[in-house]
Symmetry: C2
Subunit: 247 residues, 2 copies
DNA sequence: TAGTGGTCTAGACCACGAC
DNA sequence: TCGTGGTCTAGACCACTAA
């Protein structure tokens, strides 16, 4: 319409539409149904692709949820929960709030092979148990977790064991393995198609990736875990203590 | 072209194009110039908007860099550096690798007002120093940082002081303030227009947001800091120690 | 069947950068 | 001046949901 024949379009329509939608989201409660795309585009004086680009931005970060054939709904970010507590000064690994369950996707035993042997500090021929599961909080997908661990450490472990409860607690009580420390990397990432489907978020939605290598009190490597946590539902809280002995 | 008259398009063209581009990126070194969008769209048998959607996905996460009037370049993710070390078991606050400098955007003194007074645990009438700066590593923007601190703690502090060196070290050496602990929240987010411009990344690019409240050895609140770190250049590494006294 | 979101196209015009 | 990316449009057709 007003393609700004000579004026510079200081704000792109897409940005203007996005800000408009963010206002709507803030004003209305979660779960509010937006008007149909075609109507909204007409009302805002933009084309449908332009409107859709703005909606796509917001649905990636969880502010809007699109449902094919039904409509587009608001999903206020305020419901995102603070889910990690911290024990002493460590970054908490398994959060404690909400009702956590898991759906096990994969539970296979195979020789480690070179890369995993390296990570787990075992020989490549030794069997490794690979567990992949979707972790749900109150029934809603929160994370995808893939755990590799030396099969010899956990004889008789079954998929069922990974569906509820605390894994470290299980290690301690059934196998007398006491986890002691871990090295963890956290980095921001985005979902690919498969991850998006499992987490129930759009492709290229922001997530937090954790990679963790855990050792027990005897120094054995217990697990190498890689997790993807939904960016729209998850945050990390931690307490820091500063080491003032050096610069 | 092949709009799939009856077949279901199992993979969207946008996804196919994105995967193709990711292959190209992996094969070619960083800084490689891609063909013009119009040529590439023709070659891949898709329209330019479709190609652009895929390019947009990849440029948000830093795999591609677009330069208006020049072209689109690859920017291999492998060059992203691991920049945080950790002292003992704390999440590192100021990383140590690379040459860190800062460009100060704002350096103002004003009454705290209610929200900041609350965070800093002072009275609303007391003056607060607000410093906003872009932090650069080897000259490239890495983070935006906004620090609020009680002005009374740091008399004679000047903007220049915030441009180089370690702030906590400055606090200790000039003001005899020794930071002791902090509570920190980390969550994934995305850039808005202003942040994108300052960091040199696209709008809606993934970032890590830190909010930190720091206290000194006497229990005073020293600062409330909010930082945005580029998701394509930053990761956190941390060592964890598990507290085995409870569940 | 009707209405919704999902995908894609062809082409227009603007703004920036290098020549 | 020309080639590049940046933005936007109008409209087509598909796929899913619900009545």
């Amino acid at each position: 319409m007003d393609q700004a024949p000579a004026r510079q379009p200081i704000t792109a329509k897409r940005d203007r539409v996005r800000h408009y939608l963010m206002d709507v989201i803030e004003r209305s409660g979660p779960g509010t149904l937006l008007p149909p795309e075609r109507d909204l585009a007409l009302e805002l004086g933009v084309s449908r692709p332009t409107l859709r680009a703005a909606i796509e931005d917001l649905s990636r970060i969880g502010l809007l949820v699109r449902q094919h054939g039904r409509g587009t709904f608001t999903h206020s970010p305020k419901v995102s929960q603070e889910l990690t507590g911290t024990a002493s000064n460590a970054l908490a690994v398994p959060p404690a709030e909400g009702n956590w369950t898991s759906r096990v996707l994969k539970f296979v035993r195979a020789p480690a092979g070179a890369p995993r042997a390296n990570r787990l500090n075992i020989s490549p021929a030794q069997p490794v148990l690979r567990v992949e599961r979707v972790r749900l909080v109150d029934g809603v997908p929160m994370a995808i977790e893939r755990i590799d661990l030396p099969a010899a450490l956990v004889p008789e472990l079954r998929a069922r064991d990974m569906e509820t409860g605390n894994f470290y607690q299980l290690l301690r009580e059934r196998y007398e393995i006491v986890v002691a420390d871990a090295v963890q990397i956290i980095e921001p990432s985005v979902t690919d198609e498969r991850e998006a489907a499992l987490l129930g978020v759009p492709v290229f939605a922001p997530v937090l990736m954790f990679e963790r290598t855990t050792r027990d009190t005897t120094g054995r490597t217990v697990e190498f875990a890689r997790s993807l946590y939904r960016g729209d539902r998850y945050r990390i809280t931690s307490k820091l203590r500063f080491d003032n002995t050096s610069g």
